[in-house]
Symmetry: C2
Subunit: 237 residues, 2 copies
């Protein structure tokens, strides 16, 4: 049984997406919601805070909470998004080709990224993603073998995240992301259909578990014309 405030949050997300609660209209007041859900106001407020954080509503003091107009296609909830989730939203089904899926000794660069003490073994997974017969994205994943003792080409072909979370029971907690633009490497030129593009957008991702241990480093290398990153951010005051 999930938490009450998460259930209320999810139910309200549904209602916003189905437009039971419409954009620019006000939600019922916190007191009314507390009454409806037979719970305390603080619990309602936890649900509403989740909605606000994720860009569904804007709370206005003295007035109420209004539903933020959102183009679901343009602005998915931001945060950590795996490639598969992203592709679902893009509509078109990508084809994944696995070029490498093996335990290798970490080179200096990977050692540094994953803060390894010595040249431990890591899983190296190299994949390309194709849309309409064009190889657009090169994904390079490095996973610590202590946390992920085994992984197969089959898994790499579907979803690594699904395997990590549902099969291994790992709880992914947060990630640090960096986006930069680089010159294509020889590997990029070989594995991607660059079509004359002179740059590659590189998304570096450092992924952490719920005990704050770093266990994965990922580089997602995109052809620039197909790259798009969207984000919803609240300003701190």
């Amino acid at each position: 049984m999930r938490n009450k405030y998460v259930l209320i949050y999810q139910e309200m997300v549904q209602k916003i997406e189905k437009e039971t609660f419409k954009a620019n209209e006000f939600l019922p007041s916190e007191n009314e919601l507390a009454e409806q859900y037979q719970t305390s106001r603080e619990t309602i407020r936890k649900a509403l805070n989740l909605l606000a954080q994720n860009g569904y509503i804007q709370k206005i003091r003295g007035k109420g909470s209004t539903v933020i107009e959102r183009n679901k296609f343009d602005f998915p909830v931001s945060g950590l998004v795996s490639f598969k989730e992203l592709a679902d939203k893009m509509g078109e089904k990508p084809i994944t080709a696995v070029h490498q899926c093996a335990k290798v000794s970490a080179n200096d660069f990977i050692q540094k990224q994953l803060k390894l003490k010595d040249n431990q073994e890591v899983w190296e997974i190299i994949r390309t993603r194709s849309f309409s017969e064009q190889r657009i994205i090169l994904d390079k994943d490095y996973l610590i073998t202590k946390t992920v003792p085994y992984i197969s080409k089959d898994i790499a072909e579907t979803s690594i995240y699904n395997y990590l979370e549902n099969e291994l029971g790992l709880i992914i907690s947060f990630a640090k992301k960096e986006i930069i633009v680089e010159e294509p490497t020889a590997e990029d030129r070989e594995l991607l259909d660059l079509e004359g593009f002179h740059n590659i957008v590189v998304i570096k991702n450092y992924v952490y578990l719920d005990d704050a241990t770093l266990f994965q480093y990922t580089e997602s290398r995109h052809r620039p014309d197909k790259f798009r990153f969207v984000d919803f951010a609240r300003r701190e005051h």
Copy 2:
């Protein structure tokens, strides 16, 4: 007088940055903190949740809250960051040149971005940012005149955000951001030192006030070699 939980949050941020609380060590427990700050546990928890959200700590059930190792230079707190804040963190002082600062009639594109009904007037501000004598960034800002009745070249040269928040008293609440890569326009070629680069990284920003009204659309156009975006994101479960 600010809120108790914000004060506690700020004090703890200080302690983490000054390494009174060191990376990978545990904070005092919530009960201890409640005792120390003479407050209730729920108030302490609000402060700790802010710390967790902003990537300072990781809470581990049954054990406590550990300080996340963070390279402050590499990973500033993510979210909405104005150019001036960003430049402060980069160390080098940029030079801003204002090319345009005028009320103009909104063209079709701007009307669409700002969801205007007709061709209202908007403030158009076009600026370049130089580092080491190189014009690296082209900023194009469009502000709704109803919200921002007046703005000057002087303001555009320093910080628009400072003016909006401290002079006009506007409360900026959230923004939707989109990052894509484009071919340089004629304007990019004219106003930036492209040095042969074939692409421009474009950050589109839709900025909203605390009453959920959209009042500003910004395009920040970066030379790709100097572009860098970092983010801290928690995964939703």
